[in-house]
């Protein structure tokens, strides 16, 4: 069952730069997909289309049954509640504790405190941070902060997890740990995962579907299993 579908998608920025040209993609429910490519190839723009930070200039984007390009700014939160986003720079609320950060998507949505607590604890347990719930982000290491970010992204039990270079700021050992957490989310919860990365080691080790982009177009789309070792240019 397909969860994400892009048809003839173009994105031209107001300054005239064509970030995406004629992108056609389908991602199935429960799939784990890497998007790789050199800097400026359009992979981040593609991610932005998926969480509706940008609208396609032309074409059609459907995420989890929602027609993204027709979604009005005011209604974007409806899409965002269905997905989790993980960023390279974590983007945690600095003045809130780990618990409050993870609880945030639920509490700001008006969920009852009694329902929030077990969900937050479950998410923190999954990322292995249950003992740090009272810490503030600046008291955590980079790897721990990223795990808080993952916990926040999955606390809503989203069907889709978008990861924009989640290991970009982390050392190889911690990256491996984080990838382990994300992989287990994919396997245990059946969450669809789309990950943009620069890290060849991760891509080579994980052996998942790999979409390669260059100059705003998809240059290769290698399905899981048919994978060959990727080498950076």
């Amino acid at each position: 069952m397909k969860f994400i579908s892009l048809k003839n998608c173009y994105k031209v920025y107001p300054n005239g730069v064509t970030a995406l040209a004629d992108i056609n993609l389908e991602i199935q429910k429960g799939e784990f997909v890497f998007i790789i490519g050199p800097t400026g190839c359009g992979k981040s723009t593609l991610m932005k289309l998926l969480y509706r930070e940008e609208k396609p200039t032309k074409g059609n984007v459907i995420v989890g049954g929602i027609n993204v390009e027709k979604l009005r700014n005011r209604k974007v939160y409806k899409l965002r509640r269905k997905l989790g986003i993980i960023f390279q720079n974590f983007r945690l609320l600095p003045k809130q504790t780990v618990y409050e950060n993870v609880a945030f998507p639920l509490s700001s949505n008006g969920i009852k405190d009694t329902e929030i607590r077990p969900k937050v604890l479950k998410a923190l347990e999954l990322v292995g941070l249950k003992d740090k719930i009272k810490s503030f982000p600046d008291q955590l290491s980079g790897g721990e902060q990223q795990r808080v970010c993952i916990a926040r992204a999955i606390v809503n039990e989203p069907k889709l997890l978008l990861c924009d270079e989640p290991t970009g700021n982390l050392d190889p050992d911690v990256s491996k740990e984080i990838m382990g957490v994300i992989d287990s989310i994919n396997k245990k919860l059946g969450t669809t995962i789309v990950m943009v990365t620069h890290d060849d080691q991760i891509v080579n080790r994980m052996k998942k579907r790999v979409i390669t982009m260059d100059n705003g177009v998809v240059t290769s789309d290698v399905m899981k299993g048919k994978y060959k070792k990727h080498e950076s240019n």
């Binding site: 269905k82 003045k95 998507p105 700001s108 008006g110």
Partner: protein, 297 residues
């Protein structure tokens, strides 16, 4: 139910946030405090000026002297006619005998002179109080046109000037108060805008995790409201104690008994209410507008 929970949560969050972003809150509160103290002083002074000028204006009276040959009926009719003039508030009759008695008591020379005369040389009169001193001349002129009126005097010239000066003072003080309130609003607005600017990444994160615009705006709006209210606490204390102390030190009047100060209660309470309202309303709308800027609405 959900909306109510979001509302309650926002309220709590806003309260926490005031303390967690202490330096920014302190800057906003300090700015609000200083400007509101200025507003308070302007209100206290201008209201006192207004009060004094109005009191003095109320003292202004037109004295209408009747012709000697006027009959009692004619005098009664005249009273009714004067009372029917729109600007007239009160008409009081004073007979020539009352005048004589008053004058005799005033000085011994007048007493002996008046006693010497067989007939009372004075005239019956009406003291006319007006509603609006601005139209004093017009009212006096209308009265003069009536029959059996010998004269209608109100101290032309001096009084006319006095009234126009009072009018000018009142206008100027109102303009000063309004200008200060606007400046206050502008300053508080800018401080809160800067405070929210430094937290725009927070707003962005809220958007990423799927908070609705309502859920994002509410905590900031409450925070602005709290900052405004907290910022008005010191001005209110300064207003109440400052005015009470000033009032008692000056024994309730400045220069002479003519210029009485407004009684502290419930005047200071009204001023306090104005201050807290300005703080709250400006805080509320400033943060509302600032957050809106960072939401893609």
């Amino acid at each position: 139910m959900k909306a109510i929970r979001v509302f309650v949560r926002s309220f709590k969050e806003a309260f926490k946030s005031v303390f967690r972003n202490f330096s920014l809150s302190a800057a906003s509160v300090a700015c609000t405090t200083i400007t509101l103290i200025l507003v308070s002083i302007a209100i206290l002074v201008s209201y006192n000026i207004k009060n004094v000028t109005e009191k003095l204006e109320n003292e202004l009276t037109i004295v209408v002297y009747l012709e000697r040959e006027a009959t009692k009926d004619q005098a009664e009719n005249l009273k009714k006619t004067i009372e029917n003039i729109p600007n007239v508030e009160k008409v009081t009759y004073k007979s020539k005998d009352e005048w004589k008695f008053e004058m005799q008591n005033y000085s011994s020379t007048l007493n002996s002179t008046l006693s010497y005369l067989k007939e009372n040389p004075l005239l019956d009169s009406y003291a006319v109080k007006v509603k609006d001193a601005k139209y004093l001349r017009k009212t006096a002129d209308t009265i003069k046109e009536q029959e059996i009126v010998r004269s209608a005097e109100y101290g032309e010239g001096t009084v006319d000037k006095l009234v126009s000066v009072f009018d000018l003072i009142k206008r100027v003080t109102v303009v000063i108060v309004i200008a200060l309130v606007l400046v206050t609003a502008f300053l508080i607005n800018n401080t809160i805008k800067i405070a929210i600017f430094s937290r725009r990444s927070e707003i962005e994160i809220m958007r990423f995790v799927g908070s609705s615009n309502y859920a994002i705006k509410l905590p900031f709006v409450f925070e602005g409201l709290f900052l405004g209210i907290i910022g008005s606490i010191i001005p209110i204390i300064v207003t109440i104690y400052g005015y009470l102390i000033a009032y008692s030190k000056l024994n309730g009047h400045i220069f002479s008994r003519m210029i009485e100060l407004v009684k502290p209660f419930s005047f200071v309470l009204y001023v306090s209410l104005i201050l807290v309202t300005i703080g709250a309303v400006v805080g509320f709308f400033s943060s509302y507008r600032a957050v809106r800027k960072y939401l893609k609405v």
